[in-house]
Amino acid sequence: MTRTIHLSLDINGRRYDLDVEPRVTLLDALREHLALTGTKKGCDQGQCGACTCHVDGSRVLSCLTLAAQVEGRQITTIEGIAAENGELHPVQAAFVEHDAFQCGYCTPGQIMSAVACIREGHAGSDEEIREYMSGNLCRCGAYNSIVAAVREAAEMA
C-alpha cells in the first residue's frame, strides 16, 4: 500500500479533514477528494492558470502545490468568494456583465487571479491588467472582456 497522511485543510473558512498520499496536489485534493470542483485542471503543469486559488490571500497554482504544503494556511477557492447569501463577488458580477468567458473552464482561475490582481494593486491600467492576467490562458479568447471586467471591478474596489 502507498502511504497516506492525515491533513486538515482550511478551505473557504471551513475545515476539511482528509487522508491522502503525500504526493497529492492541492488541485487533486480539491477536485477528487473534497468535491470542490470549481478549481479547474487545464494542464496540471503550471502552464495555464486554470487551477488558480488563494493561499493566505495570495494567488497560486494549486497543480504545483502539494496539499500537505498548505496545512494551516487559509485556502480560498472560487466556491468561497461570493457572499454567503449568494450575491456575487464584484469580480464575478463584472465577468458576467462583460461576457468575460465563453466555455467557462478557465473562468474560476481567471476570477481568482483577478481578485488577487486588484488586491495586489496591479490593475492600474489596461496594459498592467493584461500583463498581470497573462498567467491565465483563455483559449476561447475572452481577453478583451476580461480586461474590461477587471478594470471595472478595480474601479469599484
Partner: protein, 762 residues
C-alpha cells in the same frame, strides 16, 4: 467585501432574439457551479491512465505489465493482447463496415503517441506511477515524420476537391501580370482549456458516459456500436464543455478503453488525458502547403487563379485540410483550377480545427492577393473591391446574401485605412516598424435537422429541452431568448436543458451549424406550444379567456391577453391553473413531414442529412474582412498586433453580445496562428516535442489588443429560419493573412510560412 447590487442588463428587449442578454448560465460559470465531465460525483471510481507509443511506426511485440500490476493500487492493465470484443463504429456519414473488429489499443503503431496500453488503479496518482512501469517491446518500421520528409512523396489527389472552370492555365499564361507564391501552415492544435477525458459507468447493459462532447447523439451512437448495445442504452451527458474547437465532436479510442475497463472491472472508471496526451491522442489541424498563381490585367482585373495544395494526413485515414476551400469564392474569377492532395505520414489523423479548410485556404489566397496588389502598385483594398464576386463562380449560383463589400468599406473606415501609406517600411514608431494589412474570410452556411421540446409547466415556467451543446457559443442563452420571445416572458422564467443524448436530437456544435439549426426547431416547437395553449385558452370551458370572442391571444410582458385589451389577462401559471393542466409538452423537428423513426435516428446521429451551402438555389456563406495593425521590432523581429478592426456579415445576430465574444475569440486564435502556434515534429521519431502549453504557445492576455468588431449583416432567411448565418468559425478565417500582410507592409518581408516568428524577420 463589496456586494454588488444585481444589475439590470439593458432593457426588456435584451431577452428576445437579437437582444444583448447576458450569458444565461453565467452565474454557474463564475461561481464554479457549472459541472464539467470529470466533475460528477460517482461512487467507487477507479482511475485510468493511457500509455502511449514512443515510436512512430512498427508493431508491439510484447507488453510487460508485471511491475505495473504489482504496484500499489493497480486494478488492471489493458494491452493489445486484450480482445475487447468491440466493433468498428460508423463514420460521421453513417457508413459502417460490417462486423469489423475495433482495437482501441492496437498492436500496429502508426504514430508516436498512439495509445498502446492503459492502467487502472484505485487513485489517479497510482495509475500514473504504474503507467511508467509498463515496458513495451516494439518492432520498429520505417516512418515518415512529415510531408517535408523526402520519403513522403507527392501524396494522393482528392478527386472530390478538384475544381475548375474556364481555362486557367491558358488565361494565366496570357495575363500581363502574374504572381506565384507557396504558402504553408504547420500542425496546429485545439488546446481547449478542458483536456479530453471521461467518466463512464455501467448498470447492466446500460452505460452512462460523462464526456465533453460537441455532439451528444453522434458520440452516443459510437458507444452503442462499439459495444453492440442498443442506442437507447447509452446516455452521454455533456451540459458544459470546456472548449472544443472541433476536437470534441467524435468519440475517440480512449473512450472505448475507459468504457471497456469499467465493464470488465464492474466499477465506474474515470480516464483523463494528460495535457501532453492531448497533443497526440487526436488530431489538430493538418500541416498544409499550397502554391497559388494569379494572373491579372495591368489594372488589376483577375484573369486566372491556379491553386495546388496538399495537407498531411495519417497512414490509416484520409483527412483533407482543404487548402482550396476559400480560393474559388472570394473573388470574381472566370478561369480557375484547384487541386488538393493528402500526404500520408505517421501522425494521428488530423481533424477539424476552427475554420477547417477555409482557414489555411484564406492564408494562401489573401496573402497572394496582397502580393498581387504590391506587384500592381495598387491599394490592396481597391484590388479586392475591384474583383468583387457578384455571384458564386464555382457553383454558378447567386449569393443568398453577401455583404463582404460593406465589410470591407465599413471596416476600412473604422480602421482609418485611407490614412495608409502604400510603401513597405514607410510607417515607424521608434524601433518599431508599423504595418497594416487586410485579410478576408468566409465560411459556408451548413444546416442540419434538429429537434426540440418545449414544456410549459403549471408554475408558469417554460422549459426548452434539447440534446444540443453549449461549449461557450451561447446555446443556452439564445434558446432561452427564443422561448422568452415566443411566450412574451422574461428570460428568467425559462429553463434550458442541454447536452444529453437522451434529449431531443440536434445538429453538432460544429461547422457553425448549430445555432441556425437548433433555433429553427426550438422556434417551431415553442410556436406550436403557444398555439396549443391558445387553442386551449379559447376553447376550454374552464378558461377565463373562452368567452371573450377573440380568435387569438397576445403573449407580452409575462401576460396572455386578448388583443387590444378587450378582456382579462393572465400569467402563464394562472392560465395553466385555470385550465387544470400540469404541463403542456410539445416536440417538433425540422425534418420533412413524415420522417420515419429510422430517418430521425439517422438525422440526429450522423451527418447524412446535413445540407451544404449550395444545395439549394443560393450559395450561402458568412463573410468577414479583418484589418490588422502590427508593430515589428526592427532589431528583434518580434511582432505584436496593436490593433484589429473586423467587420462581419453573419446575417442576423441572435445575441450580439455573445456573437462579438465569439468573433473576438476566433480573431485571437488567428493571432496565435499567425505568430505563435506550431507543432514542432522531431523528424527522427515523429514526436511533437512541444506537446504542452508552455512550449506550444497560444496567445496570452498581453498578446491581444482591443479588437473592434462590426456587424454589417442583414437577415438571411434562406440561410436559416431566423435569418442568421454561422458565427463561430468565420472569425478566425483571414486573420493570419491580415497579419502576414501587415508584417510585409511593416518590414518589406513576405513571410509565407506560418507562424511568423522572430527569426524569420531578423
Amino acid at each position: 467585501m463589496t456586494i454588488m447590487e444585481p444589475r439590470k442588463h439593458g432593457d426588456a428587449s435584451d431577452g428576445t432574439v437579437g437582444g444583448r442578454q447576458t450569458r444565461f448560465e453565467g452565474n454557474l460559470k463564475v461561481t464554479g457551479g457549472a459541472t464539467y465531465a470529470l466533475e460528477y460525483p460517482v461512487e467507487g471510481l477507479a482511475y485510468a491512465i493511457l500509455v502511449q507509443s514512443t515510436i512512430p511506426a512498427g508493431s508491439v511485440v510484447s507488453v510487460d505489465a508485471k511491475k505495473a500490476l504489482a504496484a500499489a493500487g493497480v486494478l488492471m492493465v489493458l494491452t493489445p493482447d486484450d480482445d475487447m470484443g468491440l466493433l468498428v463504429a460508423s463514420d460521421w456519414g453513417g457508413n459502417r463496415p460490417e462486423n469489423q473488429p475495433y482495437y482501441p489499443l492496437p498492436r500496429q503503431v502508426q504514430y508516436n503517441g498512439q495509445s498502446i496500453a492503459a492502467v487502472v488503479a484505485e487513485s489517479r496518482e497510482q495509475a500514473v506511477e504504474a503507467a511508467r512501469l509498463i515496458c513495451i517491446t516494439y518492432e520498429k518500421a520505417p516512418h515518415v515524420a512529415s510531408f517535408n520528409d523526402t520519403a513522403a512523396g507527392e501524396g494522393k489527389v482528392m478527386d472530390n476537391l478538384t475544381s475548375g472552370w474556364g481555362d486557367a492555365e491558358a488565361a494565366l499564361a496570357a495575363a500581363p501580370v502574374q504572381i506565384e507564391g507557396e504558402y504553408s501552415t504547420p500542425r496546429e492544435y485545439h488546446v481547449a482549456m478542458e483536456p479530453h477525458g471521461l467518466t463512464v459507468k455501467w448498470d447492466g447493459d446500460q452505460i452512462t458516459v460523462w464526456e465533453p462532447s460537441q455532439w451528444s447523439h453522434g458520440m452516443a451512437r459510437s458507444y452503442s456500436e462499439w459495444f453492440g448495445i442498443p442506442y437507447e442504452n447509452v446516455r452521454l451527458i455533456s451540459p458544459f464543455i470546456g472548449g472544443g474547437f472541433g476536437s470534441k465532436g467524435a468519440a475517440l479510442a480512449h473512450g472505448a478503453v475507459a468504457a471497456f475497463a469499467a465493464r470488465k472491472l464492474g466499477r465506474p472508471v474515470k480516464l483523463a488525458l494528460t495535457r501532453p496526451q492531448n497533443f497526440t491522442n487526436y488530431g489538430g489541424r493538418a500541416a498544409t502547403r499550397q502554391t497559388i498563381k494569379i494572373g491579372a490585367t495591368e489594372d488589376g482585373v483577375l484573369q486566372a487563379i491556379v491553386h495546388r495544395g496538399a495537407s498531411e494526413t495519417s497512414t490509416y485515414a484520409d483527412w483533407p485540410e482543404q487548402t482550396g476551400a476559400a480560393t474559388p469564392i472570394l473573388y470574381r474569377i472566370e478561369n480557375f483550377s484547384s487541386q488538393h492532395r493528402v500526404v500520408p505520414v505517421n501522425t494521428v489523423t488530423p481533424g477539424a480545427l476552427r475554420g477547417p479548410g477555409k482557414n489555411p485556404s484564406a492564408f494562401g489566397i489573401e496573402s497572394a492577393m496582397e502580393e498581387l496588389a504590391y506587384k500592381l502598385g495598387m491599394d490592396p483594398l481597391e484590388l479586392r473591391l475591384k474583383n468583387y464576386a457578384d455571384r458564386d463562380y464555382q457553383s454558378g449560383k447567386p449569393w443568398s446574401t453577401r455583404r463582404l463589400r460593406e465589410a470591407l468599406i465599413e471596416g476600412a473606415a473604422a480602421f482609418g485605412w485611407s490614412k495608409r501609406s502604400h510603401e513597405p517600411r514607410s510607417m515607424r514608431d521608434g524601433n518599431q516598424l508599423v504595418g497594416w494589412g487586410i485579410g478576408c474570410g468566409t465560411f459556408p452556411v451548413i444546416q442540419a435537422p434538429s429537434e426540440a421540446m418545449i414544456r410549459i409547466l403549471r408554475n408558469g415556467r417554460v422549459e426548452v429541452v434539447s440534446g444540443a451543446i453549449d461549449m461557450g457559443q451561447g446555446t443556452y442563452t439564445i434558446l432561452a431568448q427564443t422561448a422568452a420571445e415566443v411566450f412574451g416572458i422574461p428570460v428568467d422564467q425559462v429553463e434550458v436543458h442541454l447536452g444529453d443524448s437522451r434529449l431531443p436530437g440536434s445538429a453538432i456544435a460544429g461547422g457553425s451549424m448549430l445555432a441556425g439549426s437548433i433555433l429553427g426547431a426550438v422556434h417551431k416547437a415553442a410556436t406550436a406550444a403557444r398555439d396549443e395553449l391558445i387553442g386551449l385558452a379559447l376553447n376550454d370551458e374552464k378558461s377565463p379567456l373562452r368567452d371573450t370572442g377573440a380568435n387569438t391571444l397576445t403573449f407580452s410582458g409575462g401576460r396572455i391577453a386578448v388583443p387590444r385589451d378587450r378582456g382579462p389577462s393572465l400569467t402563464l401559471s394562472e392560465l395553466m391553473a385555470a385550465l387544470g393542466r400540469d404541463e403542456i409538452e410539445i416536440r417538433r423537428n425540422t425534418l420533412p413531414e413524415g420522417a420515419t423513426v429510422q430517418e430521425q435516428h439517422q438525422a440526429w446521429t450522423t451527418m447524412a442529412k446535413v445540407q451544404g451551402p449550395t444545395m439549394g438555389e443560393y450559395s450561402m456563406h458568412s463573410w468577414c474582412a479583418h484589418f490588422a495593425e502590427v508593430r515589428v521590432d526592427e532589431d528583434f523581429g518580434t511582432v505584436r498586433v496593436s490593433r484589429i478592426v473586423s467587420a462581419f456579415d453573419c446575417g442576423r445576430l441572435y445575441n450580439p453580445r455573445l456573437v462579438e465574444s465569439q468573433w473576438r475569440g476566433g480573431i485571437i486564435m488567428g493571432i496565435g496562428q499567425a505568430l505563435l502556434e506550431e507543432g514542432l515534429v522531431d523528424q527522427r521519431n515523429g514526436r511533437t516535442v512541444n506537446n504542452n502549453m508552455g512550449d506550444y504557445l497560444v496567445p496570452t492576455n498581453a498578446d491581444v489588443p482591443h479588437i473592434e468588431v462590426i456587424s454589417v449583416g442583414i437577415p438571411d432567411y434562406g440561410a436559416s429560419a431566423l435569418g442568421g448565418k454561422g458565427v463561430g468559425e468565420v472569425g478566425i478565417v483571414g486573420v493570419a493573412p491580415a497579419i502576414a500582410n501587415a508584417v510585409f507592409h511593416a518590414t518589406g518581408k513576405r513571410v509565407r510560412d506560418l507562424p511568423i516568428t522572430l527569426e524569420k524577420l531578423i
